[in-house]
């Protein structure tokens, strides 16, 4: 999992570099400061970061064989992650419908949608993994000794997705808002 995370970091690196390189270079079309509303994004980010803490709580429940606690915190993680996706979708809806900003509009659109989009895709993959674990647990197939490491590795992936979001957030909503 560490190797996979290492490789994924380099995949994202290309898109981060593209975003940074192309800041301020769009010759037409909507600009970041015209379209970005940071408040819902902050709520979104809080949800995703909180989900990292809830998944830690889930693992602790699993380690102590408190399956009820494990399932509760897992479910909460999934809810928070799903809210993040919903929030991103709402943001995109606003961009597309209200500001007519798509991936083909200008460089800002191109780099924004690909970077945030790939991050959201990785969140969705993580949600699928977490949901699979939750469902297996509800069906009684998760055994503490055998599966603790496996669930922990999936939680590493989830923390990675969260860490990438912190980098993406800084790139798009802090650095990218300068010009």
């Amino acid at each position: 999992m560490a190797c996979l995370i290492f490789a994924e970091c380099w995949f994202f690196a290309g898109f981060i570099v593209a975003y940074l390189f192309y800041i301020g270079k769009s010759s037409s079309g909507p600009l970041p400061r015209e379209v970005i509303d940071i408040k819902p994004v902050l709520v979104n980010s809080a949800a995703l970061i909180a989900s990292s803490f809830t998944v830690i709580a889930a693992l602790r429940g699993l380690a102590r064989s408190h399956m009820g606690s494990f399932r509760f915190w897992m479910a909460l993680t999934i809810v928070l992650g799903s809210y993040f996706i919903y929030g991103t979708a709402m943001e995109w809806r606003g961009f597309i419908v209200d500001h007519h900003l798509t991936i083909s509009t200008n460089l800002f659109g191109t780099t924004y949608y690909s970077l945030v989009g790939f991050h959201a895709f990785h969140v969705i993959v993580g949600l699928c993994l977490l949901t699979t674990i939750l469902v297996l647990s509800l069906m009684g197939h998760i055994h503490v000794v055998r599966d603790h490491l496996r669930v922990e590795l999936v939680s590493w992936y989830w923390h990675f997705v969260d860490a990438v979001w912190i980098v993406v957030f800084t790139t798009v909503y802090i650095v990218g808002m300068r010009p």
């Binding site: 190797c3 996979l4 290492f6 490789a7 994924e8 970091c9 380099w10 995949f11 994202f12 690196a13 290309g14 898109f15 593209a18 390189f21 192309y22 270079k25 769009s26 010759s27 798509t102 991936i103 083909s104 200008n106 460089l107 191109t110 780099t111 690909s114 790939f118």
Partner: protein
């Protein structure tokens, strides 16, 4: 416990269909490794056909055997095939076969992931080759990619590459690339976690060290290529502007992304070859490798520096002189650890009791050819020199010396060395010696004159040239080297088939070698070792054979 040598025909008790089935569903690293190498050698022959057609076209000026579009497809497919469908699979295949055996493990860490990686590579390659008949190219004459193996923007944009040729290039390589990444993950996990008791990092065979380094480079470089290819797909299909100059995108950005991948990629192609040479030369010099710790340090330095030299592929693009200078300096720097490795190999042979088996002949040939290629590489690191010779045949000569004369000769050396282990039978030495000389003559005839035609001004990727420029003689000589290489390949294939049928039985350790793969039968049983071995020094088998003088006394 011994197992009988592999025989492809005699096992009539098990049907042909079920034998094929057992290979197809296999998750055994040995079978998967052999399938990687076998499929890679088949793609090698396809890439060779593409090269032969090009050399036939270039034999004389103003030839019309191939159309310009056809020629473009040839050089693109030749390069793409050789790098992604021959070099990487064959080298990763050797790693797959040898790593568990060399570290005393029973298999890779993730056997099913291993099989997944193999089939991704095979199907990615088939997808790429399907392009010859699928899709519709620019002129509807077959849709193989024709944009060069590095697929520069803006040629690859939808406006200039109208059909699906470029999309086949992107998707074929992307799929194969995922296969390489899963294999790299497997290598890392296996090497980090499954070494036998007593095998510390500094007691690992150097081949394992080099594959470990290659694993890191693959995980670092291939995702960047995948990202760049996704950006290109977005440009082509979703109207994005990553490389679109009309919307202030940058075509140079593609070059930066591609070569940030591309330079570590060529080190991925050479480091496993270094690893094979590190195992083979000591055994046939009857001497321990000279300077094991420095070889490890040199390997890690090469990998680290290789991340910082990529702009040397872009010297003529118009970047500011200070930037070019930095990368010229780093390119010179990377020659230092590489040179250290060369001297250590020579130091290993010096004063040794050298046995020129075919394997050793290929290994020595590697030293010579790689040296030439490395020297022309350093010449190209001089920026003004590169400005004259970038995109000329000088560069083509350079990289064929390091990749064919380097990597492939090391692969042939490795084939002759480890074939007896994998199959239980020795390859024919007389036929092998003919193979060696055919290749040395063929490679020199084909690739040496390219330096001359390059200096005289012949550009790359041209389907023909004017008479009277001084290129004719060198092109004719280059083309005359092709029959020798074809004979060499045919001899190798014949050798392999004949030896499988009735080659001399090899026994577990035909070369009197020292690493753990020789401590089990040939071919190894499916569990590799009846009992997991323990390791007391970098040469565990020497310690067992010479208990009165073990290496651990000198650690």
């Amino acid at each position: 416990m011994t197992t009988a040598p592999i025989h492809p025909i005699s096992e009539t008790s098990v049907g042909f269909g079920s034998r094929v089935h057992s290979w197809v569903i296999s998750v055994d690293h040995k079978k998967l490794g052999m399938m990687y190498i076998g499929a890679g050698l088949i793609f090698f022959m396809l890439g060779g056909i593409e090269a032969t057609l090009m050399r036939l076209q270039l034999m004389k000026p103003l030839n019309d055997m191939l159309t310009p579009h056809g020629f473009n497809q040839m050089f693109t497919m030749h390069g793409t095939t050789m790098v992604f469908l021959v070099g990487m699979p064959v080298l990763l295949g050797f790693g797959n076969y040898l790593i568990p055996l060399m570290i005393g493990a029973r298999d890779m860490a993730f056997p099913r992931l291993n099989a997944f990686g193999l089939w991704l590579f095979i199907f990615g390659g088939l997808l790429l080759y399907y392009s010859f008949i699928g899709g519709d190219g620019l002129y509807g004459m077959g849709g193989a990619p024709d944009v060069g193996w590095f697929a520069y923007s803006p040629l690859t944009s939808k406006a200039f590459s109208v059909g699906h040729a470029t999309d086949y290039w992107i998707l074929g390589i992307m799929v194969s690339g995922f296969g390489s990444m899963t294999t790299a993950i497997n290598f890392m996990a296996t090497i980090l976690c499954m070494r036998c008791p007593g095998m510390t990092f500094m007691r690992m065979p150097l081949f394992v060290w080099l594959m470990f380094t290659v694993g890191i480079l693959v995980l670092l470089a291939l995702p960047v290529l995948t990202g760049a290819q996704v950006m290109l797909l977005f440009d082509r299909f979703l109207g994005a502007h990553f490389f679109d100059p009309q919307q202030q995108g940058s075509v140079i950005f593609w070059q930066h992304l591609f070569w940030f991948f591309g330079h570590p990629e060529v080190y991925i192609l050479i480091l496993p070859a270094f690893g094979m040479i590190c195992e083979i030369i000591p055994v046939f010099s009857r001497k321990v490798i000279f300077g094991y710790p420095l070889m490890v340090a040199a390997t890690l330095s090469i990998a680290f520096i290789s991340l910082g030299v990529w702009v040397h592929h872009m010297f003529s693009v118009g970047l500011p002189p200070w930037l070019n200078s930095i990368f010229a300096a780093s390119t010179f720097l990377i020659a230092v650890p590489t040179g250290m490795k060369m001297f250590n190999w020579i130091g290993t042979m010096w004063g040794g009791n050298i046995r020129f088996t075919v394997s050793m002949m290929f290994a020595t040939g590697f030293l010579v050819m790689f040296l030439f290629g490395g020297l022309t590489g350093i010449m190209l690191a001089v920026v003004p020199f590169d400005w004259q010779l970038s995109d000329s045949y000088f560069v083509v000569g350079h990289f064929h010396y390091v990749l064919f004369g380097g990597t492939m000769l090391a692969v042939f050396s490795a084939v002759f060395y480890w074939f007896p282990k994998a199959t239980g039978r020795l390859l024919s030495e007389p036929m092998g010696k003919w193979t060696f000389w055919m290749f040395m003559i063929g490679l020199t005839l084909t690739f040496f004159p390219m330096h001359l035609s390059g200096v005289l001004g012949m550009p790359r990727r041209v389907y023909t040239y004017q008479p009277g420029r001084g290129f004719e003689l060198w092109n004719l000589i280059s083309s005359s080297g092709v029959p020798f290489q074809i004979v060499g390949v045919l001899l190798l294939v014949t050798n392999i088939i004949k030896s499988l049928i009735n080659g001399r039985v090899a026994g577990p350790d035909p070369w009197d070698a020292w690493t753990l793969e020789w401590a089990t039968s040939s071919p190894p049983p499916s569990e590799n070792f009846p009992k997991i071995p323990t390791c007391t020094s970098p040469r565990p088998l020497w310690d067992r054979k010479h208990p009165e003088d073990p290496d651990c006394f000198y650690e």
